[in-house]
């Protein structure tokens, strides 16, 4: 899988409250509507500025806090193709894979807002076209890679009727 897009840069500790604010709790069964507020409390203009296929790039501990799967889900609905961060909070990371949103742990210091990136999942590479830099990332654990390749946990379970660890 190869992805290309532009970078929107965020800082450390972007909580799921910033991605899918609690004041929109009543929109959780209307995800298209909720997606219009994605990351609103981190950057109120984000939805207006971004385009489909763009990347969200952040510092450490992305997605901390609440287990709300709505957070990665509305990022995906909004058209974010992947999230790159120095580190992820555990539940967000697992949720993202489960709903088919690519999450990549890598050194994001050398990526700036507006940079054009290319992500090669097979090679484990992030190429920063703007800066002419190549970054690498570790492969996913086997089960996560399978779930991602299957298009999410639901399809994985439909296919195998169980979890395929190896």
């Amino acid at each position: 899988m190869r992805l290309q897009g532009k970078v929107w840069k965020f800082g450390d500790d972007i909580s799921t409250d910033l991605i899918a604010p609690g004041r929109f709790f009543h929109l959780r069964s209307n995800l298209e509507e909720l997606a219009k507020h994605v990351l609103e409390d981190a950057d109120p203009e984000f939805v207006k500025k971004m385009s489909k296929g763009d990347f969200v790039v952040a510092g450490k501990n992305f997605g901390l806090g609440s287990s709300r799967e709505h957070a990665p889900t509305i990022m995906k609905i909004a058209g974010i193709s992947a999230v790159l961060a120095k580190s992820f909070a555990r539940i967000f990371y697992r949720n993202a894979i489960n709903i088919g949103l690519l999450v990549i742990e890598c050194d994001t210091d050398k990526i700036e807002e507006g940079d054009e990136l290319e992500v090669d999942l097979e090679k484990g590479e992030v190429i920063n076209r703007t800066k002419g830099i190549k970054l690498t990332f570790s492969p996913f654990p086997s089960i996560m890679r399978k779930i991602l390749d299957d298009g999410g946990l639901l399809s994985h379970i439909q296919k195998y009727k169980d979890f395929q660890l190896k």
Partner: protein
């Protein structure tokens, strides 16, 4: 080589010897979802035509986040949960029963169990010696339907706490101190095992406060060995037969060992907007507070309400500081009512909420105004958490909260105890 509590429990549930770092498929004993995450879980199962509960008696759908419903959209979400319960035989915990983490501990989780919940604070039940962890809607949905999940066995940090607390210092202060020490991501993917003399002497209520906030350090689980205190609790809940001794081996391998002297902990506050942004109460004294909230799965138990009541007895809230109190469960609400504590709070100028999550999730019942500051006993102070990204949330113990409600500014509880 010995095992940690996490390795022991996960091993038992995956029918093999496991070590930190292993990937396993494990049986799950108890599953929970709540009204913020459950409707999505139900829709996910409907999508793949797998609308069933493997173990309906130990699957609970909680309606606790928006209770009673403040909006028609949420009322419809509640209907979806009630319908799923009816179709599958899963248990329903409807409005007024209380916060999922408190009710599941009161009613269903036992030492040695694996509990997965679609709520990050599911780790609360680790205080009983259960492996309890938060996941998203889809993971828990599959757990509900198949009775299993996949897990990576976590490495464990051992946190040894020795000695006695100073007067005016509580488990909440200890936990905020620990999170300040290791950072909001210091234990990501790890389990925290709390041990030491202080823990062995600590009430179950205090242990629940510690494990509740394990996720605020990024941890997958917070764990405490089961002992006589756990057994007594199960006895009061009518299920002493479910008691099992769960403890780590003496020669278990820990990734990190942290030693803490309880006597050195001061009343502690988390400043906006991250939980690890901790200071001692004396560094924040004088900050004006518009609303005090005492309650939640972190600090809405009898012990918490009693401490607050002791401070608020025959006193009145400051005229500029609203006082909101939310007992964590129906049982606690009733007990506080019978003890006269609710009456005391009302006389002190407080407002009592129905058992539930209340303003902690920013849905209703005490949403903050622009530039307002709240001191809350809850577990999180992220920007926007209480429904307004222009407000500021400070976290503290029930004693600090009660003292603050009287003075109208952040106050060291030792001044009023």
């Amino acid at each position: 080589m010995g095992k940690t509590i996490a390795e022991k429990i996960i091993g038992e549930h995956s029918e093999r010897e496991v070590r930190a770092g292993d990937f396993v498929v494990a049986r799950v004993d108890v599953c929970l979802v709540q009204d913020g995450t459950g409707p999505l879980a139900v829709r996910q199962l409907q999508k793949i035509n797998l609308e069933k509960a493997y173990n309906p008696g130990r699957t609970v759908l909680f309606i606790d986040h928006a209770v009673p419903s403040p909006r028609k959209e949420l009322s419809n979400d509640h209907i979806a949960l009630r319908e799923f319960a009816r179709k599958t035989g899963a248990s329903l915990s409807d409005i007024g029963n209380g916060v999922c983490h408190q009710v599941i501990v009161e009613s269903l989780v036992n030492p040695g169990d694996i509990l997965i919940g679609a709520d990050s604070h599911t780790c609360t039940a680790g205080a009983l010696g259960a492996f309890a962890t938060g996941m998203g809607s889809t993971d828990v949905a599959i757990g509900i339907a198949l009775g299993k999940t996949w897990l990576r066995v976590p490495e464990t940090f051992k946190i040894n706490i020795e000695g006695d607390f100073q007067r005016g210092v509580y488990p909440k202060d200890l936990m905020l101190h620990i999170i300040g020490l290791i950072g909001a991501d210091g234990a990501t993917y790890k389990a925290l095992e709390f041990d030491g003399e202080t823990i062995r002497k600590m009430s179950l209520s205090g242990r629940l406060t510690l494990c509740n906030m394990a996720v605020e350090a990024g941890a997958k689980a917070g764990l405490i060995a089961s002992d006589a205190t756990t057994k007594l609790f199960l006895e009061t809940r009518g299920r002493v037969d479910k008691f099992r001794e769960i403890k780590p081996d003496r020669d278990a391998t820990y990734e990190r060992i942290i030693n803490i002297q309880a006597s050195e902990i001061e009343p502690t506050i988390s400043l906006p907007h991250t939980v690890d942004n901790t200071v001692t109460v004396n560094e924040t004294k004088g900050i004006k507070i518009d609303q005090v909230f005492i309650g939640t799965c972190t600090n809405g138990r009898m012990e918490d309400l009693r401490v607050a009541a002791q401070i608020l007895k025959d006193k009145h809230r400051h005229p500029n500081t609203r006082l909101v109190i939310g007992p964590a469960s129906r049982g606690i609400y009733l007990e506080a009512m019978q003890e006269g504590i609710l009456e005391l709070f009302v006389k002190a100028g407080g407002v009592i909420l129905p058992p539930g999550c209340g303003p902690c999730v920013g849905v209703h019942e005490g949403i903050l105004g622009d530039e307002e500051r709240c001191l809350s006993t809850q577990n999180r102070n992220f920007l926007g958490r209480m429904g307004n990204p222009k407000a500021f949330i400070y976290l503290g113990s029930p004693a600090t909260a009660a003292a603050t409600a009287i003075k109208g500014e952040i106050t060291d509880p030792r001044e009023v105890l």
